[in-house]
């Protein structure tokens, strides 16, 4: 199985990695984890190079792989609440004033369900239309529309109401029923 040559792959990584990292950051709220996820995504692409239909579909493949890498990361068994010592919170301190709009957005996205989060990130960050979003998530356009509406309402509530920081944080895949 032939992999990409270094120049080709290097150009691809250089051209896509930072955009993917921003998307991953919105999904997971942690720059380091986002970098790990992007690396995982490209490693998977490298391994599947001969199977991936490159060209127009490459970005869709990368997005989909990244999304599933996010999901995989959450599937690490019983360790999640058994850190050797106390783990830092995954969300900004609710009492802190967000330093910029991205902090505000990331903090708010952490408080809506992962399914809604994924839809909103793809629609408004990646600027995908409903059909493309449905294709990446593997669900119907109707589901994307309904999840978008619900997600926007939830996001607006969270952003508009600082007390919403008391709302539960969706940090696992329990609520990934984004396409149901």
């Amino acid at each position: 199985m032939r992999g990409p040559d270094e120049k080709e792959f290097g150009e691809l990584v250089a051209g896509r990695s930072h955009a993917l990292r921003r998307t991953a950051y919105l999904m997971c709220g942690d720059w380091h984890q986002a970098e790990d996820l992007v690396q995982t995504t490209f490693v998977k692409l490298y391994c599947a190079w001969s199977k991936v239909n490159r060209g127009d579909n490459l970005d869709a493949y990368l997005r989909k792989t990244l999304l599933h890498a996010c999901i995989d990361e959450k599937r690490r068994g019983w360790f999640r609440r058994e850190w050797p010592t106390s783990a830092p919170p995954d969300v900004p301190d609710a009492s802190a004033v967000p330093s910029d709009d991205r902090d505000l957005l990331v903090g708010a996205l952490r408080r809506i369900s992962p399914g809604q989060r994924a839809v909103l990130v793809l629609r408004y960050w990646e600027d995908l239309d409903v059909e493309e979003t449905a294709r990446v998530l593997g669900c119907s356009t109707g589901t994307v529309k309904s999840q978008t509406a619900r997600g926007l309402a939830a996001l607006r509530t969270v952003v508009g109401d600082r007390k919403a920081s008391d709302a539960p944080v969706f940090d696992d895949v329990t609520a990934i029923k984004g396409c149901s």
């Binding site: 990584v13 380091h32 790990d36 995989d72 068994g77 019983w78 609440r81 957005l105 329990t174 396409c179």
Partner: protein
């Protein structure tokens, strides 16, 4: 009217303006990982790529710690006052993470290269390492006024006692310290548009000379390790680069304790790089310090444009060379420095749990593998992630070795003690969720399967096959106690287990049950 959609577009658009940590996506590293090389060591520091040269299972993390937090860019002419130092604070080991970013490491086993390392582990900086680092730094800069303040990456780097299992599992540890002229914090030095000059001290601890220290470039110090920083890069006849600057003579001396001290320097114009190593006698390990008196060129890779090798930024060179080879040699000659990175202690696993010998030859108990307790019974199939509190947390034991087909795996085993009378229902819940994984509206979040185990293996038992995850979980119920054994491939590519491996998993389940019943 401001609809939800308009509002969202505006919010997402505004967030595009936010600052971001510097990051260099190393495609060569991704290719190497893709080629199943058992290393992940993309280390970006000081805005450029540095080699983390630990030989086994080395992992680099992001940008030098702290500098990757929100990074305000200093405006021209801006200065930041140096914090006042007190004599008591100078060599205080507890302050080490204020100055040193421990941004590269390796472990004695393969866990350092496992995916999701920071989900389960952390970089451990032992009390001894902290003390030695602060002694080195305060010898070089007694008031610490030139050292850039930084901050550890939350949760990833921890200052721990020497007895901490993770500290005892470290085989290599690399710290980066930024040397400034004006006391600027590290966060102001590394954004792409920062202009302030700074130097870099790379401090590397390795547990034996089998491990390579970070950075080291001088052949006499590090036996010809790869040079990534070119003071005077010139093109070779091919597509490569070489450094026209040559290393100077090697100095070598022996300290009263038998340690060997090696040093070498290369320079070009105002640029200086110095390596000094102290090799402790026997298997005592090695401490290496590499000094650069300049910041590297910050270069953002551009598609289709050839990237030059890391090299000094002529606009960001310190005045003179404040850290000379003599100063480094003096600092490393300190008789109070100790051989780095303690050896692991031996812990015993109770006879009611799997013993290392149960796994086969070459297996060992892994005291640093994981040392939490079973606080929750986790039910997870990709869509559901329940965490059900146990009544009495029990220790989790770790092991490391290879499966019959040769796949390196780490293993954790622990007992979930559930409420009286609830054991069978919990086992049924696990069984239900494990079977056939989880598929929501055609989106297969998992395709896990269940393998039955023979009747008589505890009160009930099965194995969850984590499809595509390189992982198996054995569940065995004994009344209301549920023994859980997780076997995870260390290779982040998550190789598939063979049939021989699957047979071996079943055999392990039988052994685990026998151990629990006192028949092991």
């Amino acid at each position: 009217m401001n609809t939800d959609q308009d509002w969202a577009r505006e919010l997402f658009e505004r967030s595009r303006q936010g600052e971001e940590p510097v990051w260099f996506a190393d495609h060569t590293e991704m290719m190497r990982t893709g080629q199943r090389r058992n290393r992940v060591r993309a280390l970006a520091a000081s805005g450029s790529v540095l080699a983390t040269a630990a030989a086994v299972a080395a992992v680099g993390i992001g940008v030098a710690g702290g500098a990757d937090r929100k990074a305000p860019e200093p405006t021209p002419g801006q200065s930041v006052a140096s914090p006042t130092k007190t004599a008591a604070a100078v060599a205080d080991p507890s302050k080490v993470l204020d100055y040193a970013s421990f941004d590269g490491f390796s472990t004695k086993d393969g866990k350092g290269s496992a995916g999701g390392f920071f989900k389960n582990y952390y970089i451990a900086v032992s009390t001894t390492t902290a003390r030695d680092t602060m002694r080195l730094l305060s010898t070089l800069d007694p008031s610490l006024e030139h050292l850039a303040k930084t901050a550890p990456i939350a949760g990833r780097v921890r200052l721990v006692p020497d007895t901490d299992p993770m500290a005892q599992d470290m085989a290599g540890l690399n710290g980066t310290v930024l040397w400034t002229e004006s006391g600027l914090p590290a966060s102001a030095l590394q954004p792409a548009k920062a202009t302030a000059p700074y130097g870099t001290l790379l401090v590397s601890y390795v547990d034996s000379t089998n491990e390579r220290p970070a950075g080291g470039q001088a052949s006499c110090v590090t036996d010809g390790d790869i040079n990534t920083d070119l003071l005077h890069p010139v093109k070779t006849s091919g597509d490569g680069w070489m450094d026209a600057a040559q290393w100077g003579p090697c100095t070598k001396s022996t300290l009263p304790d038998g340690s060997t001290l090696l040093s070498s320097t290369k320079s070009y114009g105002r640029f200086v790089v110095t390596d000094v190593a102290r090799r402790f006698p026997g298997t005592g390990g090695e401490v290496v310090v590499e000094w650069h008196n300049y910041a590297d060129v910050m270069e953002v890779p551009t598609p289709g444009v050839s990237t030059a090798p890391p090299q000094p930024d002529p606009q960001r060179v310190l005045s003179g060379n404040p850290v000379t080879a003599d100063k480094l040699i003096a600092a490393l000659s300190d008789s109070s420095l100790t051989p780095p990175l303690a050896q692991p202690s031996v812990t015993t696993t109770p006879t009611t749990m799997l013993q290392a010998s149960d796994f086969g030859s070459g297996w060992r108990a892994d005291p640093a593998g994981f040392h939490g307790t079973t606080t929750d019974l986790v039910v997870d199939n990709g869509c559901t992630n329940e965490q059900n509190p146990v009544t009495t947390p029990q220790p989790i034991y770790s092991y490391a070795g290879k499966t019959p087909s040769g796949i390196p795996v780490d293993v954790t085993a622990g007992v979930n003690v559930m409420k009286p009378g609830s054991g069978p229902s919990w086992m049924a819940d696990l069984r239900q969720h494990v079977t056939n994984g989880c598929d929501t509206a055609g989106n297969a979040y998992s395709r896990d399967t269940l393998s039955l185990l023979p009747t008589g293996t505890g009160d009930d038992a099965f194995i969850e096959n984590w499809y595509g995850q390189g992982r198996q979980t054995i569940y065995i119920r004994f009344g209301d106690d549920i023994l859980r054994v997780d076997l995870s491939a260390m290779d982040p590519n998550r190789p598939a287990f063979s049939q021989a491996d699957n047979d071996w998993f079943a055999g392990l389940a039988a052994k685990a049950a026998a151990r629990h019943d006192g028949k092991g």
